[in-house]
């Protein structure tokens, strides 16, 4: 990763032709501006979460049929699969934010990566535990060391490693840099989780929604699944914005204390 750190691109360089996406990312680097936007988005995300959850739970628990092979246990899918998707999605988001923070010294991106870690870890934990509760009646065991389950556990450890590392240094800038590098290294695990069910013989079933040829799942089960996945996504946005706000305040306190100490 050292080449990335050695070649920082500065915003003021007139030779760099910035794309509109870059300009938008730059625009959000101002914490005050970010917080104004966050204050407006948060209630929308919160109400969307409540509405989508209500619809998803109603369809999932009352309207969707039992599976012909898995009977009623298929309902665990509506909390298991969205949690697993979000575990992966949050990791990629965290790594992208960490990369943007590392390369462009983007302060809000660093905070977004830090704020995402506990949310992604929670989703990954839920995917593992609900999967375990689904495994017992279907496979006869709570746990098996197959490629999908093991790589998902590794994902949880990457999150926990990131959280430990980002808080491990007295100088928060060092913690941010080290943990960002760890987050980027861990990206290698994401395709391993996704394709583990194809690359190896696993007890875990293969993909039935995000796969070549489109979903092979009946709409009566696909709809509650998608609604729950959208609910988890808006929940992530809501909590992420809350936590970034908290992190911005924490950074301001730290900066003010430093100024006080160094006069």
């Amino acid at each position: 990763m050292s080449w990335i750190i050695l070649v920082p691109r500065t915003k003021k360089d007139p030779k760099v032709n910035e794309s509109s996406a870059m300009k938008r990312i730059d625009w959000l680097a101002n914490p005050a501006r970010f917080q104004r936007l966050s204050r407006r988005v948060r209630p929308v995300a919160a109400w969307l979460t409540v509405g989508l959850l209500a619809a998803g739970l109603y369809l999932g628990l009352f309207q969707s049929p039992a599976d012909y092979q898995q009977s009623e246990t298929v309902r665990i899918m509506y909390v298991h699969v969205p949690a697993a998707w979000m575990g992966l999605f949050c990791y990629v988001s965290m790594a992208v934010a960490a990369g943007v923070g590392l390369i462009w010294r983007h302060p809000v991106a660093d905070l977004a990566a830090k704020a995402t870690a506990p949310i992604g870890a929670s989703f990954t934990f839920l995917a593992l535990v609900t999967g375990s509760l689904w495994g017992k009646p279907m496979w006869g065991t709570y746990w098996v060391w197959d490629a999908r389950l093991t790589s998902m556990l590794v994902l949880l450890f990457f999150y926990l490693g990131y959280i430990a590392l980002v808080n491990a240094f007295d100088d928060p800038a060092r913690g941010t840099k080290m943990s960002s590098i760890l987050a980027l290294v861990g990206v290698i695990n994401v395709p391993i989780v996704k394709f583990s069910v194809e690359w190896w013989y696993t007890l875990h079933q293969s993909a039935s929604v995000v796969k070549a040829g489109g979903p092979s799942i009946h709409p009566s089960m696909l709809w509650p699944l998608l609604l729950m996945a959208f609910a988890y996504t808006t929940y992530y946005i809501w909590i992420l914005l809350l936590r970034i706000d908290g992190e911005i305040a924490a950074t301001k306190i730290r900066a003010a204390r430093m100024r006080q100490v160094h006069g």
Partner: protein, 58 residues
């Protein structure tokens, strides 16, 4: 009525696996929400207190 509720909760004998999945998901997501709300509130309060302290010294 009572019978249909208990049939629903029983979930064909699999309720013992299904309900813990839903309850644990709810618990973790609600706790994360509460912790995050508290984290933000405490940090903003600390920042406010710090600014008041600074103003008092002026």
């Amino acid at each position: 009525m009572m019978e249909s509720i208990s049939t629903f909760l029983n979930m064909g004998g699999h309720g013992v696996f299904i309900w813990p999945s839903y309850l644990l998901s709810a618990l973790v997501l609600i706790l994360l929400l509460v912790f995050s709300l508290n984290f933000r509130k405490n940090m903003e309060a600390a920042l406010g207190a710090f600014r008041d302290e600074k103003d008092a010294h002026k």
